[in-house]
Subunit: 341 residues, 6 copies
């Protein structure tokens, strides 16, 4: 079995209006928990990789419910801590057709945002692990959390783990100027960069080369962007996702990857009748990490990751809970056209 | 702030089968309240216009629940009356794909249908208001209700309010011959006519000019129809909606408007994955009234109204509860493609 | 009124994850009952044909609930028996977009699968009936059930009933080799064969002629297949369904029919936003039987059957519960584009 | 098997607020169908008695759903008719603790209330049947319906059926004075009277003898009332139910019976944590009829009927759907204290 | 009509686990809004008193949903403000039997808690009003909110309004020592004190006289406490609630009142099968205010208030939404024993 | 931390009718998983004891969902195996008042029932563990499973673990005669016997001494039974539960314990408004094991166990998920009378 992964980030309570209701209509919220980094851990655990998620939850019933929720998917939560503060959360109004989905964040004063360096013993945590994954959201949550990202990434690299970072720009948390200030220094401990192609400028100040035309899935400019990022930050690998479509129900997704040697393009996958878009990028990141841990070649890895990201859109919640076989079937061109009996 | 609006019409209890169930399958009904005129009041109240809805509900728990329901959206119901009779209602079976949605009306003997002239003191009601809106449904419900429409429209015009009427032909309530008898005389108190383009013939006996071809969105003939209506009834303005598509989930919508000087065409908006079609025309009407109250130019008003009607299709229930900013974003060409974080 | 029909087959409890949830997420299952043959009986009963379903259910509360369920749709269950064994069931995970629906069967040791010849008095059962319908699923469930199929089909033919068989290959129940061993001898008592065009090879060893190209709806090769089947088994009629599309939400469906004289092609119907695919083939079969019982010509019968199969996709559960008028409207080219008020 | 029963009465759509919600809070209604007479038919059908319910439903989807609903419990609806008018309904707010349950009737202009003599062919309907049951509600609904009750009861008696009537006073439908005018003449065709002990005065003008004290379950005065009723109307049998308790969740129930010879008292049954009180009296009536059809002695019949009425309170909806064995177990003194595994 | 009331306090989003689930089990939360002061306004608005609630909500969708929620019950929210900060909330796990209900508060940094004096123009707000009501919770939320309570109470008294304060000790917000520091000075602007009898010591440092024995409903000591409170703070009136019982489903409630002249005792009401305990004290307070506004005598007022508090326990949510007639019926000794048809 | 526990037994899918519905009414089932032995593991894991559950689940999506379900509560499932066979299940109809809850088992041919000795490596499994717990249900499921119980209990004892067995007679699985044949030999590897007092005769042939009277909670005879069991099988400890009450909603529970030296009696706890009775005995067993692992004295242990069993009745599902603090509070006499804020 490949060695184990560690992820670090906040797990939020997500309160979703059911049945496409608007906030003002809702008399119930669907309850799940998720977070960009934890979503990666869940996907990998589903696929048989030992996955530890490190986070801070409040020392009350909500924090306990949060940990129980992610534990059911096989993620080890024993390295997380119960801390002062509140349970971070967000409200999600599921869009439909020409009405976009809407998120209202409510994470001020959360236990995670109150973190400071020195709380986690990263040396022990990384003992015997091979991979560390975090995202730009953790750095955006608070100065303390950003410092812990720095602390963790440095420790991970020092202990020989591969370090991945997914950019994940969130305008509700910070503005590009501040984001660049925080994120650029963090990049020196990152081996492999992941991100949406539109986030590179906002988070790192690396601008997208001119696109060839109108389509959202512009492989050429996105591939050039990957090379620019490599050039500036000396990443060993870069993978960038692309998305097109202006409906809440339909999108087209793909990605490009610089694998250390060359830029390769993923297949484009058409998504109609999407169920839940949150976590698509995380499922892509999990796919990239999984392929690398399995030792797959770059093409197979990228197709798997694109399919993983795509299939996430068909499942409620933040988590990618499709099996390796299901993702591979989609990567191989299969769709949902027949009932699997 | 613009001066206030008054709407008049029945508010029905709507019993909808959940999850696309057919009537024979349903073990629960979703409960909302709505009505063509009240829907307009709700939209305007959401957008900051003082809106009063005048109606009659039964003097029992159902009538009280009905008023409470619409009050939550900021509509003033203090001018409505509790009266003898029953709560009018309709059953709605939500269609899917090639199966159309189905309505079974049950409004006989409702408190509203038992109305007679003299019950409402229109003089007082219209004091300090600027706009009166009613629809052909109120006139169709019963002879008494039609007479009250006449009474109200005349009083409104006499007191200097702008009077709008939305045609809203309902074949379950009357046949074209009777509809024309009742509606044509009512038009002399109407300043601004709204309607679906197919209703003009059934309700007013004004036939659609020959269409240029197969498409449902025939701007040319619809524009000519607007002018014919103006010619015959001397309306200051006419706005007509168009709809195309033969699936319960997908439609294309638009509208044309004669603004007193010229005919202008709205943008066409593609709707896939619609959630609820009821109230789309009312949301359009509310948009037209809002633009006029705001003093916007005809083009801006029409685009706002078309977008308002379109976005309604993405929300459960009769009510348009999108904000001005959300409608404007769609009017400006935005779609639902990205999560709003 | 046309004379009555008898169907024979297992009725399964179906446990469906709601709201497109995956099995691991489900905290509730939707509960319905259905089965390929019983689905045909329900459709015909809805359309006014006296329909008897013969099955075996366990002699406990679950068996009673099963019979009550189908009785509400007007099917006569008085010829069924309460027997030892358990209630057969299956779990259904409803797919979405690129994720296929998934079935986990759990029918081992069911009361139906424990059946043996001699339990039902077919002579009495078929008294005064005109049509007997069964499917390949019943033959696949167990050797005992296959023998009862043989017993019933022979008795039906001897008593002058028309015998229809729908192939319905289920890979979870048997492999093609065994299927052919069992099914081929059964064909000598079958007058009219129904089936998906891909099942003919697996169930009867009759291979599909070369297709003309990529499209799933290849009328030509499917028509040739119908003739090959007639040639080999001497069926009086053959009807074969076709399906194309690789999304869980969208499909195109049609069928061809050899009516004893000629091969005719059905209209193709586009299905977007499908609600539930299970039972589409059964609804088609019911349509074919209904047209024959009504004495309609082949073209009308086929169009009705194709529309019946199509409209089933818009309804939850296994059952076709659209009225004759609704099916005819779709067969005539109507869609779901307007609310039926 | 005992010969078959015929019941006659309106079947109402019942819209219940779930989870003890008040009307103003409800965003869903639970949907069931029921009616005092049909409830009796369902109980008897569950217990193996052939039961036909005669009613009128509207000729639309709601009427069809109504008949399908009761058919699932094995009641034969083929003698009912689809007629003009609307589906009668009532709203039910489920009480709790010190808050009483609340019913809002909405049955004006229902298909049943528009009935007139001559519509049903009672001679054919009663062919081969042994028992006819109706209640005072049918007589209260409208003059037409009262006349049909008269027509049916007379025909039944003429054809040798036993005729039972359950008083069922409903203050929302009529006042005592009018009730007595209508009901007293009807009694000459009634063999066996059933009712709540408080209804005898309101419906027939027969006053309750002085009670011995405060308790609601006064066997003595109720037994005397039974004899007074027999004396005045010459009934062959009289059974009267009693209820005590002032909480929506807890009641004590019992009954007395004059069996033609003597007055006997039923066991008192304590009900805590009641689920649904509607239909308790109907379940009692069904129990009395069942015992008589089975030829049980008076004591066994009364205990069975009291237990049947009691167990109804533990089930949602109007229908008594406990088995004979379950009712007998309660009649024998068993309770709900152990899980039945 | 009596003159209007103003209430001031935070409105919290309440997230309740449905069906008695524990937090760790919940996959949905029921959504309502409420708050001790707003609950009083809702009850009074239901009863026909003009009621204004003054609060601060965040300037986002959640704040808007909050105001819409309370507006449906007829409370005027136009004096409230949209302010920076988050929507305060609490999680409620509904207990059962020997398991207590559990609240997890999450109101740090809420818009209300960030309030400071000078934000509301109390002079204008109190124009033409007759009554001002606040509770100790508002004072506990933050120093700023406590200062605004002071500001408002002083202004109200200066403008001649009656000022009521309900003690409402909340141990999650502060400790008795700090509570007394803040609350005691506030009392000089309070005319009429309300509270649970156990809160007087924690909030004001006034200890309960020795109780006569074990029972929770000790009228004597509670009456003496009322007099002690009057003596120390010179209140014109004091009303104190009592509660007994150690089950989550059953309680006994009552109250005593010093009406300026004498101490009177309320009837004790037994509550079994309680639905929701939150808001019982607020419903009592509303009853006391209502009786005073109506000019009822002290006895009638107290019985009405006790019944109002009791009936609240039978309804989901924080709000008392029983009508005056329903409360009076319970006050007169009626219970929930009969269905109200 | 105390050393870890191992439990062994089947985990069943439980399909519960919601809202007290009967099977024939249910259109949804609530989905949970549980099993007598696994329930013990969950309780202990909640309380901080390392708990491993050993079972066999089918190698499909249902088996995976089953393991995920119990993993969320912190139980280690890595020693369980995916095996051929089906997912065992049971249907549960929740009773109310005088109607008992009803279970329909469906566990024939489950993966667990197909187990045989040699499949689990008990030596490795018990490495470093201190306690092994199984119940009579595992022995009843099949001969193979009984043999595995024997194999495991012997291995556990050989490796020095404490072995507990809970009798758990299930009449649906076997009759007393066969039960005694299988269970009596198993007792020689059991240190500590747990059980309901009525199971001792059925499972072990040890009859209850004459009871002192009518009450179900007869401490004296139950204590004597404990001593008889110790005498015959040489158990180091024996704990027997008692239950009284004949309503589905109300029970009184307690237990006695022979602690090796003396017999002690637990407090009796009154349960009204019970939510779910399944798993009460398992929660008691978990409490006894927990007290022993903590080294508590017999009295403290028994009171904790009785309270643990009692509080289970207030929670949906099989699992005891109250915290140590919550159980201790109830053991100390606290109830559910106050909201915990």
């Amino acid at each position: 079995m490949p060695r184990q992964i560690v992820t670090f980030g906040e797990v939020l309570l997500r309160l979703t209006t059911p049945k496409h209701e608007r906030f003002v209509q809702a008399r119930q919220f669907d309850v799940i928990y998720g977070g960009a980094e934890c979503n990666v851990a869940v996907a990998l655990a589903q696929w048989g990789i030992g996955a530890h998620h490190v986070t801070a939850v409040p020392d009350n019933d909500m924090g306990q419910a949060c940990l129980a929720y992610i534990r059911q998917f096989g993620v080890d939560t024993s390295l997380s801590q119960k801390r002062p503060g509140r349970q971070g959360l967000y409200y999600l109004e599921t869009g439909a057709s020409v009405r976009a989905s809407k998120v209202v964040y409510d994470r001020a004063r959360s236990s995670f945002s109150e973190l400071q360096p020195g709380i986690f013993n990263w040396r022990e945590i990384f003992q015997g692990k091979s991979w560390f994954h975090f995202t730009g959201i953790s750095a955006a949550v608070s100065d303390g959390a950003a410092a812990v990202c720095q602390e963790a990434a440095a420790a991970a690299q020092a202990q020989g783990l591969t370090v991945t970072c997914d950019l994940n720009y969130r305008s509700a948390l910070w503005q590009p100027e501040r984001a660049r200030e925080v994120m650029r220094p963090l990049m020196k401990n990152v081996d492999f960069l992941l991100g949406g192609r539109d986030d590179a400028d906002k988070m790192l100040g690396v601008t997208l080369p001119p696109t060839s035309g109108v389509s959202g899935l512009d492989y050429k400019s996105t591939g050039e962007l990957a090379l620019k990022l490599r050039d500036e930050f000396n990443f060993s690998k870069v993978a960038l996702t692309m998305r097109a479509g202006d409906s809440a129900d339909e999108n087209e997704v793909s990605a490009v990857c610089f694998d250390g040697v060359k830029v390769i393009n993923g297949r484009r996958i058409q998504l109609k009748g999407m169920v839940d878009r949150v976590g698509g990028g995380d499922a892509f990141a999990a796919g990239m990490i999984f392929g690398n841990l399995q030792g797959w070649d770059s093409e197979k890895t990228l197709e798997f990751a694109v399919a993983s990201g795509a299939i996430k859109h068909t499942v409620h919640g933040d988590f990618q809970i499709a099996s390796v076989a299901e993702v591979e079937a989609l990567a191989a061109g299969g769709g949902g056209g027949r009932v699997q009996r």
